[in-house]
């Protein structure tokens, strides 16, 4: 494959890719697509794929068998999409290898097997199958970043280009100055998706203003929180979208140096992003003098080794530089002094992935989505015993109740909703009566919650609030980098007090000691980990005071989780 020399060469290439894409969906052969992602592999998607390959050959069915990415519906993996000649593509859920023969034989007989279908890619119902867009999981979503998730092959740059990929980068490169790109991102009011919600445009602008070279642009794909899995799904299902956002970021900062720092555990995300980089080099969308312009860009992929703290900006940069990933005091901020002491713009994976559509459609268009202060769409994941677990993309401002009970389908059979933990290990939970809050940056914060990275944990009556608080505190204790004392010593102390309470030795004064200790940790810690580490505990105490009370005063764990029961029995001389 020769490098594309200029814009015309790209246009020709894109036209060919598009024509191939259209031919794929028009001929009188079958097109069968299998979603291959981390979570579908765990449920046997590779076996399904191999089985299909074998059976299609055996039955002599003329078919193109494709691999696509995940579409966010973890609950329906492994999924298979079948387009029979003359019919719209139909998506089937939970097609494990044992179901493959039934499915293929039925389809061969001309039956649609509607009972296994999630939906048809059509505007009207087809042979008893509803349009996919009306599936309750998808009906309320607004998909920009996930628009082609499960549609394109993540390992094919041609698929991405056929669907309009790299158009935004070309528009920026040939029709806009770097300042104009930054102006659009500012106008979009896109706020950082990694947790803090800082406006990306303002960060890019400060990065431009700092007069030191070289500069660096870095994607934060570390995703080490225990409560979210959206960035890796994005990288697995549409890696070129993130790469295009990063390219635009490098162009805006006028730098040839881009990085993606990916959590080492996310093996498939790393692999697919690396493959995307390789393909972009091959085509000449990365490298020197891209498409004949003076703009050059080189991307390096670096991986983490399982330390949550390396997601924090300054720690991440030390980690890239081959040092232990520990945060430093600020200022200077990273946009002044980051990687190799040079100006560095760091944004979350999802933040970068949102940029192409902003450049293509304009900042004002993006700002019209979502709410006034939280514009655009947000990837959210819900964990816990809900019916339709997965990744959804919603417009900001949908209520938490709609999100949990409509999009994610509410609680599984046999589970009763008790609360939803927001902001992962950095904020507090919401109770049932608070669920009408809009899901956006500011509304959740007002209730002591947090949008954070968009990972929410639904929990049921079998989870004890004290034990859950201990779990979240213990996470922060374990992940503390031990650089500063309030965090290094304070968090273990809080865990110790919680253990006392869990074991039935809590004292009424303990709650005040927790509040006092938490205050010190929050005010005196060096970085964002320590500064919010006690928040989940304080949040649990506020949301479920009666449970803390029951443990401390009545020596009883209402959910029957804590070791308190045995302790109380021993104390009573009973066994």
């Amino acid at each position: 494959m020769a490098r594309l020399a200029d814009r015309q060469a790209f246009e020709r290439y894109a036209a060919e890719a598009q024509a191939r894409w259209e031919r794929l969906w028009a001929g009188d052969h079958w097109v069968i697509s299998v979603g291959i992602s981390e979570c579908s592999i765990a449920k046997g998607a590779l076996e399904t794929y191999r089985h299909l390959e074998l059976l299609l050959a055996q039955e002599g069915i003329p078919a193109t068998l494709r691999r696509v990415g995940c579409a966010g519906w973890c609950f329906a993996e492994p999924f298979v999409e079948v387009r029979a000649p003359g019919a719209p593509p139909v998506v089937y859920g939970n097609v494990t290898t044992d179901r493959v023969p039934d499915l293929v034989h039925a389809l061969k007989r001309g039956e649609v097997k509607s009972e296994w279908a999630l939906g048809a890619r059509a505007d009207e119902p087809f042979a008893g199958v509803q349009p996919l867009s009306q599936h309750p999981f998808l009906a309320r979503q607004r998909r920009l970043l996930f628009a082609d998730a499960g549609v394109i092959d993540p390992e094919s740059i041609d698929d991405y280009i056929a669907r309009g990929g790299y158009r935004a980068f070309l528009k920026a490169l040939f029709e806009m100055t770097p300042d104009e790109v930054v102006a659009e991102v500012k106008a979009s009011n896109l706020r950082g998706r990694g947790g803090a919600g800082f406006p990306a445009g303002i960060k890019w602008e400060s990065g431009r203003r700092t007069q030191a070279w070289p500069k660096y642009v870095v994607v934060n794909s570390h995703e080490g929180e225990p409560n979210v899995f959206k960035d890796r799904r994005l990288l697995e299902t549409n890696p070129h979208l993130v790469l295009e956002g990063l390219l635009i970021g490098c162009y805006a900062l006028e730098t040839p140096y881009g990085y993606n720092y990916i959590g080492g555990e996310h093996a498939l995300a790393v692999e697919r992003f690396q493959e995307a980089v390789r393909q972009a080099y091959e085509l000449g969308l990365l490298g020197d003098n891209i498409l004949g312009t003076s703009f050059s860009c080189h991307i390096r992929v670096r991986t983490g080794g399982g330390a949550y703290i390396c997601g924090e900006g300054s720690a991440l940069m030390y980690a890239i530089m081959g040092q232990r990933g520990q945060p430093r005091t600020k200022p200077p901020r990273s946009v002044e002094e980051g990687l190799w002491k040079r100006p560095t713009v760091l944004n979350n994976t999802e933040t970068f992935a949102s940029v192409p559509s902003i450049v293509l459609n304009g900042g004002a268009w993006y700002a019209s989505l979502g709410t006034e202060q939280s514009t655009g769409t947000k990837l959210v994941t819900i964990q816990g015993p809900v019916k339709r677990l997965g990744v959804a993309e919603i417009e900001m401002g949908m209520t938490m109740r709609e999100l949990i009970f409509e999009v994610f389908g509410g609680m599984r059979e046999g589970y009763r909703f008790k609360g939803v933990q927001t902001g992962g290990v950095s904020a507090g939970p919401l109770r049932e009566d608070q669920l009408d809050v809009p899901v956006d940056f500011d509304s959740l914060t007002e209730l002591g919650g947090m949008l954070g990275s968009g990972g929410f944990v639904v929990f049921d009556e079998s989870v004890c609030a004290v034990d859950f608080a201990r779990y979240l505190m213990a996470f922060n204790r374990y992940e503390s980098c031990s650089k500063c004392n309030p965090c290094r010593l304070g968090n273990p102390a809080l865990v110790e007090i919680l253990d006392r309470i869990r074991n039935g030795f809590g004292r009424p004064a303990d709650l005040d000691i927790i509040r006092e200790g938490a205050k010190h940790i929050i005010e005196l810690s060096l970085c964002g980990l320590g500064q919010v580490a006690p928040m989940p505990l304080l949040g649990m105490m506020k949301a479920f005071p009666e449970e803390f009370d029951a443990h401390i005063r009545e020596k009883r764990c209402p959910a029957n989780v804590c070791p308190i029961r045995e302790a109380a029995l021993v104390a009573a001389g009973d066994d």
Binding site: E38, N227, G305, Q383
Partner: protein
């Protein structure tokens, strides 16, 4: 991968040196530092842990000190500087798995198999890493990834016990991911 390696067994560095020569070619000092973690990850993929000889080979290849390499090996939770047991259990202790009962699995492994985080069971069969993050397959929570490819999902202490029995016998657990029921 992750086969049992006795401490006195000699490590064959050839595959590592090959990977280093092919894929780890820093153009300057900065890049050499940037590549240490990745090189250690390759070593762990090859040997199931990072033996001292491998750490030294990485340091030599990249032109950095061995202290720097161990500084990173001991900082990150993913690395092992001790040989693993025969099978590798990666137990997810992310929030979904916690809510669905991963604590009970950790207790069971500790009480019944004398197996704790980063440890090896006394019979040398099992190594456990408790992952303080999300493995990304929450629909299977609580979940354990076994020997880097298979998943045991929707585990209860009873199913985990059965799965371990099967693993030690060399069998596969029926409905391993737990989604058939």
């Amino acid at each position: 991968m992750a086969n049992r390696i006795d401490r006195d067994e000699k490590i064959d560095l050839t595959p590592l040196l090959e990977v280093l020569a092919n894929r780890f070619r820093p153009r300057d000092d900065q890049e050499a530092y940037e590549l240490i973690v990745g090189a250690c990850q390759e070593a762990q993929r090859l040997y199931g842990w990072v033996p001292p000889e491998a750490a030294q080979a990485i340091a030599d290849h990249l032109g950095v000190t061995i202290n720097r390499v161990y500084g990173l090996l001991t900082f990150y939770a993913d690395f092992r500087t001790e040989p693993p047991g025969k099978h590798f259990l990666w137990l997810c202790h992310g929030a979904a798995c916690y809510v669905m009962g991963s604590s009970r699995l950790i207790e069971l492994l500790r009480d019944r198999h004398q197996l704790v985080d980063h440890g090896v069971s006394p019979d040398g069969e099992l190594t456990l890493h408790v992952f303080n993050g999300c493995l990304g397959v929450c629909d299977l929570a609580p979940v354990i990834q076994v020997d880097h490819h298979e998943y045991w999902g929707r585990l209860t202490p009873e199913r985990l016990e059965a799965a371990i029995e099967a693993l030690k016998r060399g069998d596969r657990l029926e409905d391993a991911d737990g989604t058939a029921g």
